[in-house]
């Protein structure tokens, strides 16, 4: 099958037009500016770097500029890949067909804070930490909390349908967007919301089109303005970590915690035995624990002091009744506060044969898995990983598994389940990359087997995942409909072409 579309090439004339739109100082063509925007934190085939290097980097400053750039791309048929914080693990911002990188981080203003109706309207390039440092002065809080909290930007969070660590308390990004301004691939500027309301949370008017522009991985347009729900800043935080003598034990106790009905419970995170092993090669932020501790549950509560004071007692009862050991304030507080930074240091990589430190990038292969299936998935995933590590020691490393409470505003039912794998990208070649893609495919197929979704947070667009996602997970008509929508909104397939295999929408036959 070949695409019926031919892309144009970026020549001096097009560059001139782009410069006229955003200014000379916001168009970059030197190789290093382009090369550093080829990758996101997902494993990057470093040996094929130039295949993913875009042709030009454009930094727009307003909705109008985004619209003008897209009009040019559409006219000359140049691929455009929107890039926010570029901290996503989904490869969303990784160009597959070169073209223009539309780096939206310059659009980073807080446009409006509404203390009465409890909303904030922002441009897409602002990150959550910056936003919250302003909101906290007014006693407000935007509760989105991904691992990349200090650096991911709101636009990217929306574009990838981001997941929040404390989603059980405050919801995830898709639950927090009230309305958006979106530039379509043709350059048209539209507004989508709940009905037509800019700050309305529930409406039964029209189709739920807003959701179409959440998690599309840059394939349907560029969001340029977002109105978000904001929460009262919590009075108190209460992190508590508990230790167990086996994964099974922690798994059973997690069920009781998540179904306890405690509304302040913001997260329940199971660390499996491999993860605890991994942490034991880690720095001193990890306070030494007795050898009998093999698995951990991390919990956190947010809310008013009165609520949390009551709830924490109940939580301790649930934990201690099952023989869990509270791991102390220093670990609970320190580890919770370092949740964004600590688990993915490149030097945590090891070569198993002689335990040498090998710089590796962290990769998280995640899925949404129901509670009942966790032990099975865990067993299978570690088996798969071990097989590849044995064959390619020093290239891959198993960094253990996390299972995070997954649903919005409630902790029960399913988990964002991830296996963290270290990859030495410097050592990648055709063979190891192929092995990597196969490992992912195997991991993803286990998910389909247990009726999960192959990703709760990182999207299904990466090589290895995407085939399983499109051919298996979305096979019952969903992918067919996606293709029709894609072709309707983006007649020339300029928006992030190649992602989600949506090229197929434009193929003959």
């Amino acid at each position: 099958m070949t695409s019926i579309l031919k892309y144009g090439t970026i020549d001096d004339k097009i560059l001139e037009e782009l410069r006229a739109i955003v200014g000379d100082e916001n168009v970059f063509t030197e190789p290093h500016h382009r090369a550093i925007r080829a990758s996101v934190p997902a494993p990057f085939p470093l040996h094929k770097w130039s295949e993913h290097t875009p042709d030009v980097v454009v930094l727009p400053g307003s909705t109008q500029e985004v619209s003008e750039v897209l009009k040019i791309s559409n006219k000359y048929k140049i691929p455009v890949v929107p890039r926010g914080g570029a901290t996503g693990l989904a490869d969303g911002a990784m160009p597959l067909r070169k073209g223009i990188i539309l780096d939206i981080k310059r659009m980073c203003e807080i446009l409006e804070i509404d203390e009465v109706d409890r909303t904030v309207t922002v441009q897409p390039g602002i990150n959550m930490q910056e936003l919250n440092r302003v909101l906290e002065k007014l006693g407000l809080w935007f509760p989105d909390d991904p691992a990349s909290y200090p650096v991911a930007v709101v636009g990217g969070r929306v574009g990838t349908g981001g997941w929040s660590l404390v989603g059980a308390f405050g919801g995830h990004v898709p639950d927090l967007v009230l309305s958006m301004e979106v530039v379509l691939p043709t350059g048209d500027i539209i507004r989508v919301g709940n009905g037509g309301g800019r700050k309305i949370r529930k409406s039964s008017v029209g189709y739920r089109l807003k959701d179409l522009f959440i998690g599309h991985q840059g394939t349907l347009g560029v969001v340029t303005e977002i109105t978000l729900d904001v929460f009262p800043r919590p009075e108190v935080e209460f992190p508590a970590f508990f230790g167990y003598n086996s994964f099974e034990h922690a798994y059973e106790n997690a069920f009781k915690m998540t179904t306890s009905g405690l509304r302040t419970l913001g997260a329940v995170v199971i660390f499996d035995e491999e993860k605890v092993e991994y942490l034991r090669r880690d720095d001193e932020a990890y306070i030494p624990q007795p050898k009998s501790i093999k698995s951990i549950i991390a919990t956190v509560m947010y809310g008013t002091e009165a609520e949390v004071e009551g709830a924490k007692k109940r939580l301790f009862e649930i934990a201690e009744k099952d023989g869990a050991i509270y791991l102390g304030e220093e670990l609970s507080e320190g580890d919770w506060a370092s949740r964004h930074d600590r688990y993915a240091l490149p030097l945590h990589g090891r070569r198993r044969s002689d335990w040498q430190v090998v710089p590796m990038t962290w990769h998280c292969e995640d899925a949404a898995i129901n509670h009942s299936q966790l032990p099975y998935v865990r067993k299978r995933w570690h088996e798969i990983a071990s097989r590849y590590i044995e064959q390619y020691d020093g290239v891959f490393d198993d960094w253990g598994m996390f299972m995070y409470s997954n649903p919005p505003f409630r902790p029960w039912g399913d988990y964002l389940t991830e296996i963290d794998i270290g990859i030495n990208e410097l050592a990648l070649d055709e063979e190891t990359w192929e092995a990597w893609v196969n490992m992912k495919r195997e991991i993803a197929e286990v998910v389909i087997e247990v009726e999960g979704s192959i990703s709760a947070c990182h999207g299904g667009t990466r090589e290895g995942d995407v085939e399983v996602c499109v051919r298996q997970e979305l096979k019952d008509g969903q992918f067919e409909l996606m293709k029709k929508i894609k072709k309707m909104l983006d007649p020339n397939n300029i928006m992030n072409p190649g992602k989600y295999m949506l090229d197929e929408a434009y193929q003959e036959g």
């Binding site: 109008q64 446009l111 409006e112 804070i113 509404d114 309207t121 002065k137």
Partner: protein, 264 residues
């Protein structure tokens, strides 16, 4: 009291440079702001409002991007801002004719209804024509005072001191009137960034020209009174002359030289 303030969204003129190769002004990538003189106009309006009550309407002709500066002005204490989208005019003449601007503003003011007092800055920081205020008064058929360095409101009257190079004139003017203010009249307040963010988005209203029954065509065919012929960079060269010797000698040599150059 209903007050209107006409303001201009300008690039920070201290940041404008000239491209060494082309000789053109580099205007993109430069921070934008409220023209400094207009800040004094806004401040004066806000002080009157704080004392006498009332409502302040901001009006600007400019790009959509002017919302940033209008927001800042609203945060200073104004009530509503109108941005008359003038981007499309940029293609007609790069630097707009101040009389044309005054015409557009006058249409907007007429549409918005009767104001008691209309403020402008004495000049705009970029064009420096000092014509918009007086022309606006003329077009609206209102009395006006220019270069106001102090102003007091008494019922239906304003007392204005206008400062020219070395004279001060005092006027009593019956309202409604147009006043252009200079930089001595007050020290404008600086709203905090949070105050700016708290300005409701719907307090800024965008009007296209046709909202004022105007069209680009019409403006294109109307007379242009002022236009920019050319500009060039002022070259300041240091002569770096060193007067050697004892201090006293050197100083008298310096004075002699300054006299020769016609500087003393």
């Amino acid at each position: 009291m209903r007050i209107a303030v006409c303001m201009k969204h300008v690039v920070d003129t201290t940041e404008v440079r000239i491209d060494k190769n082309s000789g053109e002004l580099i205007l993109s990538g430069i921070p934008t702001k409220i023209s400094d003189y207009d800040k004094n106009a806004i401040e004066e309006a806000v002080r009157i409002k704080e004392k006498n009550g009332g409502e302040i309407t901001l009006i600007t002709v400019g790009p959509r991007d002017a919302f940033k500066t209008v927001k800042e002005a609203l945060a200073m204490g104004c009530d509503v801002g109108y941005i008359i989208l003038g981007d499309m005019l940029y293609d007609i003449a790069k630097f707009l004719d101040p009389i044309t601007i005054a015409e557009i503003l006058s249409k907007a003011i007429q549409k918005l209804g009767s104001f008691d007092l209309i403020f402008c800055g004495e000049v705009s920081e970029d064009g420096y024509n000092a014509q918009v205020g007086p022309a606006l008064a003329e077009l609206l058929g209102l009395p006006h005072a220019a270069y106001a360095s102090s102003l007091e409101v008494e019922d239906n009257l304003i007392k204005v001191e206008s400062m020219y190079e070395d004279t001060i004139e005092t006027f009593e003017i019956q309202l409604p009137a147009v006043v252009t203010v200079n930089r001595l009249i007050n020290t404008p307040r600086l709203p905090t960034l949070i105050q700016v963010m708290k300005v409701p988005k719907n307090k800024i209203i965008y009007w296209d020209l046709d909202e004022l029954d105007l069209s680009v065509e019409e403006i294109k065919n109307s007379k242009i009174y002022t236009s920019l012929k050319e500009y060039h960079e002022m070259k300041v060269e240091r002569k770096s002359i060193i007067f050697e010797g004892e201090a006293e000698d050197a100083v008298s040599k310096l004075i002699k030289r300054l006299k020769e150059e016609g500087l003393l």
